[in-house]
């Protein structure tokens, strides 16, 4: 099948790739660009470990054709830190032990980051609704909720 040109920006870096149109966004991110922080955990758009941000909005990159992201700005977990300085959400996750095996963490971080961009001071219920699309088999979610609550309280500042 004929490949086509895809131009998109990932973590502020512009990429031009030739891909088959059936390539999923997650495949472009992991296999073509080589950013393996984003994971895959199901075939049914259920688990959320592939969550990334498109123009500041959380989406599941396994349920989007890469060609549909033409010209868009994508942020992955690798794009959260800035020259070695962790983003507030990453620090909050460290302090609250909001991860265990770490496989859902990238997607979880992106859902939380997107939630906070839209709503800097979410309630507990809003936080839970914001990460409902992400399965974590290890933590039972509460430590993640506590991390976001701490951010909402303004306990963390951008460095």
């Amino acid at each position: 099948m004929e490949k086509q040109l895809l131009t998109l920006t990932v973590n502020d870096q512009k990429y031009e790739l030739y891909i088959s149109p059936k390539t999923l966004l997650v495949e472009v991110i992991r296999d073509h660009i080589g950013l393996t922080g984003t994971k895959r955990g199901c075939e049914t758009v259920s688990c959320g470990v592939c969550t990334v941000m498109i123009d500041d909005m959380a989406v599941k990159s396994c349920s989007i054709l890469a060609v549909q992201a033409e010209g868009r700005h994508i942020t992955t977990v690798e794009g959260l830190e800035k020259n070695g300085k962790l983003a507030p959400i990453q620090k909050a996750f460290l302090d609250h032990g909001s991860y265990q095996c770490g496989f859902c963490t990238a997607g979880m971080l992106m859902s939380c980051a997107a939630l906070l961009r839209e709503n800097p001071s979410p309630t507990k219920t809003e936080i839970k609704e914001g990460i409902e699309g992400n399965i974590c088999r290890c933590t039972g979610y509460n430590s993640i909720v506590r991390a976001v609550e701490a951010l909402a309280k303004g306990n963390y500042k951008e460095e």
Binding site: R30, L35, T36, G37, T38, K39, R40, G41, C42, E43, T44, S46, C47, V49, T76, V77, E78, L80, E81, L86, Q90, F93, L94, D95, H96, G97, Y99, Q100, C101, G102, F103, C104, T105, A106, L109, I127, K128, E129, I131, E132, N134, I135, C136, R137, C138, T139, G140, Y141, N142, S143, I144, V145
Partner: protein, 773 residues
């Protein structure tokens, strides 16, 4: 007040930064030069002879590099119970017949995953379909098909536990109750599906990246099935996306990728799809429980007898252990004058059953703790006080089985009692249920038949004082690397930041039985403590030689400060001491060794944790839907080591256990799993998760490092029963099957109403009749 400088303080996970920045490389992410992608062809039949496999068409497909079947293997029947040959019953690529839907039949390696998948359709397998059986109660019938040769009535393993004179104890009982229970299976559902990358090179060495709980098991098992020396196999597993008991047996990914790589001399990667991970790995063991319990009218426990059939599925795996542990923990945490357990593991043509977090105990507690609640209700007793009256205590001996070194269950009862009383009267359709449980801190049995110690550690001190800690223990997310670093730092008297933990690599780390049965904090922890003490001793001996002090143990190191215990202000920097000591040793680095193997610790485990789980549940009488609105966990894990890790483990155990209680359901039809995907298999999500506050009960476990014992697995045991007990108190129905699904609750309520109506009618008729007389 914490008497330690590092233990039980707020410490970041040692691999935290790697995990929150996406730098952690999982097997799922591994990419090697020239790597091929493998896919596995799976049996569509629950039970069939393999007559012939034609792979020629698949090999013709451009991009396909190789195909293997059972004929390309040594045909070794393997199992993790190596000590018992007849329990080594599984060929991962079977030569003669398949025994469950999804069992591997052939494997393809190709340039891309897509080509490999296309090639599967081109493999032509001829089967002779055999009659199949799916239910243990059918499988033990005379006419049932034979699944494994020589296993009469498909009985795979039997276990018998008995103490006291059970008949006599039942004679003493004033009230006897018997119930049948049915406990379902549960998928481990690790976020990282089973995955492996194998690379065999012309020098006869095999390197395998594998998502595993026990690299050493993989090394040993692979050596056996591939005919290689253990030493020629290197298993690497730096980051693992969850395990929960499902990742320490040989799986299709590791075996097939290894066989393909040995044939092709190229790296081969196999990653299971989520569907494969549901259909063709293993699961929590479904069980049928008959429980007969005899008590005195005042609630004193006399005797208990349990008869259990477990659905073992097609192979043994770790199922044999689950069969023993369910029978033992069914007695927990109580004292029985007479106790008898007859457990039977039965082969069926379904997915093999194995260990899963709780290891047989969640099923045992679902039955035991609900029946105890009902008995208290039958006798009009306070169920919490009845439990307390019969509970274990420090120093109690479970006859012929175990000695309880530390037990905080009594304080657990106090905590939950207060909480319940503070709640006061609850709104309608809401009720509190609780359940007690206990669990082991690592198994003492050596069924893997290894000469190595159960746990080992090596502490190497560099000239700047930083430490290389090598452990065979495996971090699968539970945070063992952090816990072990904390123990090492506390012992040496330095900071966690100065310790680098090396694990998950059989070439560089000492052998260890790995992450299962809640063994690592106690066993690997003891090994690390011993290694650190060894290294510290070498340092202090030198310091002593230099100092004017008269006896060695006068010296200590705390927060990097070498000093006399009597005169802490007098001392000097630890790094300085290290430099001098290394010089004095002719430049050798300071190396400390430690190991742990339990001796004379009974039949099960060196130490036991205790806990009480309470849940407040809201039930919708009309729909049967339940919601856990609040909870409290009272938990005795001895001395907590890794505070953040402990809380996370307990909350996580709760979510998995609650899922087992009312959500996670594995329905089979003709041997086929009906919901092998995350749309139809439901797990707890953030919106269903209640707050899970934890009350830590302080005890000290002599056998554990700094007094620590199990945490994080045991709490999977009580929750399903706690939910059942809450439903019992809210609606007065007894749920004898888990997961407790809403439809079952509605049906139970209907049944109850008809019973009540019938009684009324009967009563009315009776009174009429009497009037006629």
């Amino acid at each position: 007040m914490n008497k330690y400088t590092v233990i039980n303080t707020h410490v970041h996970n040692v691999d935290g930064v790697a995990k929150v920045t996406g730098r952690a490389i999982y097997t799922f992410d591994v990419k090697l030069p020239g790597m091929l992608f493998g896919k596995i062809l799976r049996s569509p039949h629950p039970h069939a002879k393999i007559l012939n496999i034609d792979t020629s068409k698949a090999l013709e497909l451009p991009g396909v590099i190789g195909v293997v079947t059972g004929k390309d293997t040594l045909g070794v029947k393997q199992g993790i119970w190596r000590r018992y040959q007849d329990l080594c019953d599984e060929q991962i690529l079977p030569v003669d017949k398949v025994r469950y839907i999804g069992e591997p039949v052939a494997a393809v390696a190709a340039l891309t995953e897509e080509i490999a998948e296309q090639a599967l359709d081109l493999i032509d397998v001829q089967y002779e379909v055999l009659p199949a059986v799916y239910d243990p109660m059918d499988a033990i019938k005379k006419e049932a098909p034979e699944i494994h040769q020589g296993f009469e009535r498909n009985i795979n393993v039997t276990r018998h536990i008995e103490w006291g004179d059970v008949e006599e104890a039942f004679d003493e009982a004033e009230y006897i109750r018997e119930d049948w229970f049915k406990c379902g299976g549960q998928a481990h559902m690790c976020m990282e599906t089973r995955a492996a990358v194998s690379s065999y090179t012309p020098d006869g060495k095999l390197t395998v990246y594998h998502s595993t709980q026990a690299p050493y098991y993989m090394q040993g098992l692979l050596a056996g099935v591939l005919g290689l020396k253990e030493g020629n196999i290197r298993v690497i597993s730096h980051y693992v996306g969850g395990g929960f008991g499902g990742k320490f047996e040989l799986d299709g990914a590791i075996f097939c990728s290894a066989v393909l790589s040995m044939k092709l001399f190229r790296p081969v990667k196999i990653v299971f799809t989520r569907e494969e991970d549901f259909n063709a790995t293993k699961r929590r063991t479904p069980m049928f429980y008959y429980v007969r319990t005899g008590v005195k009218k005042d609630g004193t426990f006399c005797a208990r007898e349990a008869k259990v059939f477990t659905n073992g599925g097609a192979y043994t795996g770790m199922g044999a252990t689950a069969l023993y542990l369910t029978g033992f923990f069914h007695s927990f945490p109580y004292r029985w004058k007479g106790y008898r357990y007859d457990g039977y593991r039965v082969y069926t043509n379904t997915l093999p059953s194995t260990s899963m977090r709780g290891f047989g105990a969640p099923q045992a507690m679902f039955c035991s703790e609900q029946q105890i609640e009902w008995i208290a209700a039958d006798l009009g007793l306070d169920s919490l006080e009845m439990r307390r009256k019969n509970a274990h205590y420090t120093g109690y001996e479970v006859p012929d089985q175990a000695t309880i070194g530390s037990c905080g269950i009594n304080q657990c009862f106090d905590t939950i009692k207060d909480w319940t009383e503070k709640k006061g009267k609850l709104p309608e359709n809401r009720a509190i249920g609780f359940s007690a449980a206990g669990f082991m801190s690592g198994g003492i049995f050596n069924w893997f038949d290894t000469p190595y110690s159960f746990s080992s550690a090596v502490v190497t001190i560099n000239n700047d004082g930083t430490v290389e800690l090598h452990v065979g223990a495996q971090d699968i997310g539970q945070g063992s690397n952090t816990t072990l670093a904390i123990i090492c730092a506390e012992t040496l008297g330095i900071k966690v930041e100065d310790i680098k933990v090396h694990s998950g690599d059989t070439d560089h780390c000492p052998a260890d039985l790995g992450a299962w049965g809640s063994r690592q904090t106690l066993m690997a922890g003891n090994a690390v403590k011993m290694a650190a003490e060894d290294a510290k001793k070498q340092l202090l001996e030198f310091a002593y030689a230099q100092s004017g002090f008269n006896i060695v143990y006068d010296l200590d190191i705390k927060k990097g400060w070498v000093h006399a215990i009597a005169r802490p202000e007098r001392g000097y920097d630890y790094a300085e001491l290290v430099k001098k000591a290394i010089r004095a040793k002719d430049g050798q680095r300071i190396v400390g060794r430690g190991y742990y193997t339990p001796h004379r610790k009974g039949m099960i485990s060196p130490a036991y944790s205790y806990m009480l789980q309470a849940v407040e549940v809201e039930v919708d009488r009309e729909t049967g839907k339940i919601k856990i609105v609040d909870s409290l966990t009272a938990h005795d894990c001895g001395q907590p080591i890794n505070h953040l890790g402990l809380i996370g483990q307990l909350e996580g155990a709760f979510s998995m256990a609650a899922g087992y209680g009312y959500l996670e359901y594995m329905p089979y039809e003709d041997g086929k799993l009906m919901n092998p995907n995350l749309v139809d298999y439901k797990v707890i999500r953030s919106t269903e998760m209640p707050d899970v506050p934890v009350a830590e009960i302080d005890t000290y476990e002599q056998e554990g490092p700094y007094g620590a014992k199990e945490a994080g697995e045991g709490l999977t045991n009580p929750t399903a029963a706690a939910i059942g007990n809450a439903i019992f108190h809210a609606l007065g129905v007894q749920m004898k099957e888990c997961p407790i699904r809403p439809e079952m609750i509605v049906n139970a309520l209907k049944e109850k109403e008809t019973k009540v109506r019938n009684k009324e009618v009967a009563h009315e008729r009776a009174s009429k009749v009497s009037r006629m007389r």
